[in-house]
């Protein structure tokens, strides 16, 4: 089933390095989600996994299967495109919900809605 032994050494090294980097970044993102102090800080951490965490694993997959099948295999790009198009939707929804919660409950140091009314004079 697996033809991994046909992979030349340089491609195997590159693939495993990229997979490790991607998995490591995703793991760090998960740890960051636990460690950061407030909601708005935590919202930054998972984007490690959705940007180069995913990107690096996809790149590894492209390299591995392009070398194995000796033809360009690039459908992984689609995964990257769809992830980067859909994550903002969830993140913005969460961020706006938290903003609304903090504003109505009046805690946290969220800026009031009025800062958006006029461009700052600077």
């Amino acid at each position: 089933m697996s033809h991994a032994e046909n992979l030349p050494a340089w491609a195997a090294l590159l693939t495993s390095a990229l997979v490790l980097i991607g998995a490591g970044l995703t793991l760090l993102g998960a740890i960051g989600t636990l460690r950061f102090r407030s909601f708005f800080e935590r919202v930054h951490a998972p984007t490690l996994g959705t940007s180069w965490g995913t990107g690096s694993i996809l790149l590894a997959s492209i390299i591995c299967f392009t070398v194995l099948e000796s033809r360009p295999v690039v459908q992984e790009i689609l995964i990257g495109v769809f992830i980067s198009v859909t994550t903002p939707v969830t993140l913005m929804l969460l961020a706006r919900a938290a903003l609304y919660r903090d504003r109505t409950e009046g805690h946290g140091d969220v800026p009031p809605r009025s800062v958006l009314r006029r461009p700052p004079t600077s």
Binding site: G24, L25, L28, G29, I31, G32, R35, F36, R37, S38, F40, E41, V43, H44, A45, T47, L48, T50, S51, W52, G53, V74, Q75, I77, L78, S84, V85, T87, P88, L91, M92, A95, R96, L99, D109, V110, P111, V115, L116, R117, R118, P119, P120
Partner: protein
């Protein structure tokens, strides 16, 4: 042209996706063309606003810059996670007046900002064009404003306006 192909860009993108998911052959090309044309005709019934790309030249430069910036901030945020929380690290909100008004351009800007670890798009007011960002490692507010404006907003305005 416009009646047969109401959204040429969408049709081309769908066809490309079809070919990537199946295989590059004449048969799949023909089948994909039929599906893509049908889908874009169906899209026309929804009458979405048609994005206009006015200049193509800045796109590769913008794409390269975004990739590099995202890579750089990936490692910046990763090192913030590893080195525990520095007590002097400040996170905070940044207010940026945005001149870009094109909806597609704004959507792409939001994708860029959210995919970059360390910056999160929080709120945007379409009437005043003021954007509220949250920045994880806020050292200099003006630096973030000029980064967003010069790196992303200027090329997006060139492309769409």
């Amino acid at each position: 042209m416009s009646r047969v192909l109401p959204y040429p860009l969408l049709t081309a993108a769908l066809l490309l996706m079809w070919l990537l998911l199946t295989s590059f052959s004449v048969g799949q090309f023909l089948l994909g063309t039929v599906v893509a044309m049908g889908a874009s005709r169906a899209m026309a019934a929804l009458q979405p606003a048609k994005p206009r790309i006015r200049r193509w030249q800045p796109i590769p430069k913008l794409l390269g810059m975004v990739m590099l910036d995202i890579l750089r901030s990936n490692f910046a945020v990763a090192s913030l996670v590893i080195r525990r929380n520095r007590p002097d690290r400040v996170s905070g909100f940044v207010i940026i007046p945005i001149e870009l008004r094109d909806r597609t351009g704004l959507a792409i800007l939001s994708c860029i900002v959210t995919s970059t670890p360390g910056t999160a798009w929080v709120e945007y007011a379409p009437d005043s064009g003021v954007l509220l960002l949250h920045v994880l490692d806020l050292v200099d507010e003006a630096e973030w404003v000029s980064l967003i404006k010069n790196h992303y907003e200027a090329p997006l305005m060139e492309i769409f306006e």
